[in-house]
Symmetry: C2
Subunit: 328 residues, 2 copies
């Protein structure tokens, strides 16, 4: 819901608002990732330097993956007087936070989909991450990049760009990290990258290996499908959040334009994710099955059916539709 | 072998040497990778702008993975008068190139292990890549970064840093890429990254899945081992070069400090690669088996034995030695 008077502001006014805060809570989104945690904690450190009490609030626990950000930080217990948010595009994304309906004095964000729910909004939807927006704010006003803040901002930008791999990693992102690395050459960048982007829990290793072992690839090599049966997920004790990023697996096969991931739920229904390469539009394929989404990332559901039939049909339809798309 | 009069030179003299070349061959190393191909072709484009004929020479074919660099380039046929090299630490790395014993007028490199085999050497062993050395040379003398050169340099730096993930990706690397992206925001960076770092051939997908499916992890979770039998490699028609990077697989398991990869050769002998995490020194473990290498990447060979026995022994010895290392 749009705030009736939401106003977009630049860096100078944002800085003035930050300096004027008192006993503030910094709200980040549920299922927190490196960018909302990084920008939330960076704001906490910045406010502390301004002599302002604050704390980061999230509906879900911060995963231990981000211990390097949270270690050594203890939030004071105080009744909050004001609320700001970082990396939260929509009020709904606060999740079940008690403060989810509070007035948000300021939102700092980079999502093009921001719903303008805050009173004041400082955003740059061309930035890779909220952490990049925050970096630019600090740079514009010569605020010193402390070691803690540098670490937070690095992790946020690395997370949202897939370790500088995605198309959103722009010149500004690289320039920001260049400056962070220039000032703090000895932060454990490579170790953080391994932990964040390479390492997987043993259960997830087993799941991915099993899925890839049984991957189906169409005759022309352009459609690939993996199927995670309810039995497999149960036997490996894999929870919903453990399957993060699973939908990207079929796209690892060279030449694949449409990657399909079929997850069987305990009730026998199927949740399907689709990913598209340069030439595919998976949104229309998902629409064919009553789903939808983005051109390169979509999804749909299928209520029931024999797994073989469901997977076979998805492969056939996707192959035929892809041929239609690329011959056009 | 050291050139009796090898002299290290700075950017100004290097540029003067480049401008003085005539009908030059640019030698790169065998088993060419993104950095030697990128720096070799960038030099070709630069010399062309100076009005100098040159061509890139490699003992092995350039993999199709680098088509974006080689596309549109046709080398003239001319008898070479001079030789330079890019990203080649040692003359031995020319491989079976007919020119392998020629006098090298200039070498541009970043390997700390450079053997000073050339007459003149322009290097920076703190640079992530030969392409970064070349970028700095061009920047120092305001040479225009053409689109072709920008693409070459990007690919070289991305390759040698594992897409900006490794510890060698320094402030200078990020600043160079920031400038490349600023000047050419529309190069297909994300697609290149996917092709270079994410996508694998179907056979390699099957191999990795099978290896990870059968990964052995020690009870304490700190040693992991994968075993590629000669039968498996044969059945998947996997060649030696198709196993590039295979030794990194066991290190994907969270918590693993020593990753061991055992490859069985057709003659029944074993080639073993070891990788170490933050706390391990795999060089001493490899030495125990008559091998050696670096602290974080070593290898050894075992002449024969039952696969179960060989793998079990490697796991046991590595676990015991790791305990010794980390308790010390």
């Amino acid at each position: 819901m749009e705030h009736e008077t939401c106003r977009e502001i630049g860096t100078a006014e944002t800085l003035a608002v930050l300096r004027s805060l008192e006993d503030a809570e910094i709200l980040i989104h549920r299922s927190p990732d490196g960018d909302c945690i990084g920008s939330g904690y960076a704001l906490y450190h910045l406010l502390k330097r301004f002599g302002i009490r604050s704390r980061v609030c999230c509906a879900d626990p911060i995963p231990s993956l981000y211990d390097s950000i949270t270690a050594g930080v203890t939030f004071e217990d105080f009744p909050a007087k004001m609320y700001i948010s970082a990396d939260v595009a929509d009020r709904k994304l606060f999740g079940e936070l008690p403060q989810k309906d509070a007035e948000i004095a300021l939102c700092i964000d980079h999502h093009v989909s921001n719903t303008h729910y805050a009173k004041l909004l400082h955003w740059d939807h061309n930035a890779s991450a909220a952490c990049e927006v925050l970096y630019e704010l600090m740079r514009a006003h010569d605020l010193p990049l402390t070691r803690e803040i540098a670490l937070c901002l690095y992790i946020g930008m690395a997370t949202d760009t897939g370790c500088f791999q995605f198309s959103n990693a722009g010149a500004g992102t690289f320039a920001a990290v260049a400056e962070i690395k220039r000032q703090y050459p000895d932060l454990p960048y490579a170790r953080l990258n391994r932990e964040l982007f390479v390492m997987k829990a043993p259960g997830r290793i087993a799941l991915d290996a099993s899925l890839m072992q049984n991957i189906r690839i169409s005759e022309d090599g352009r459609v690939a499908l993996i199927f995670a049966s309810a039995d497999l997920l149960r036997s490996l004790k894999v929870t919903e959040e453990d399957t993060d990023g699973m939908a990207n697996l079929p796209m690892q096969v060279r030449g694949v334009e449409v990657g399909i991931t079929v997850k069987q739920k305990p009730d026998g229904s199927y949740r399907i994710s689709m990913r598209g390469g340069d030439d595919a539009n998976v949104s229309v394929i998902a629409q064919h099955f009553g789903g939808g989404g983005h051109v390169k990332a979509s999804g749909c559901s299928i209520a029931d059916g024999d797994p073989e039939d469901v997977c076979g049909m998805l492969m056939d339809v996707a192959s035929a539709m892809l041929r239609g798309q690329t011959e056009a």
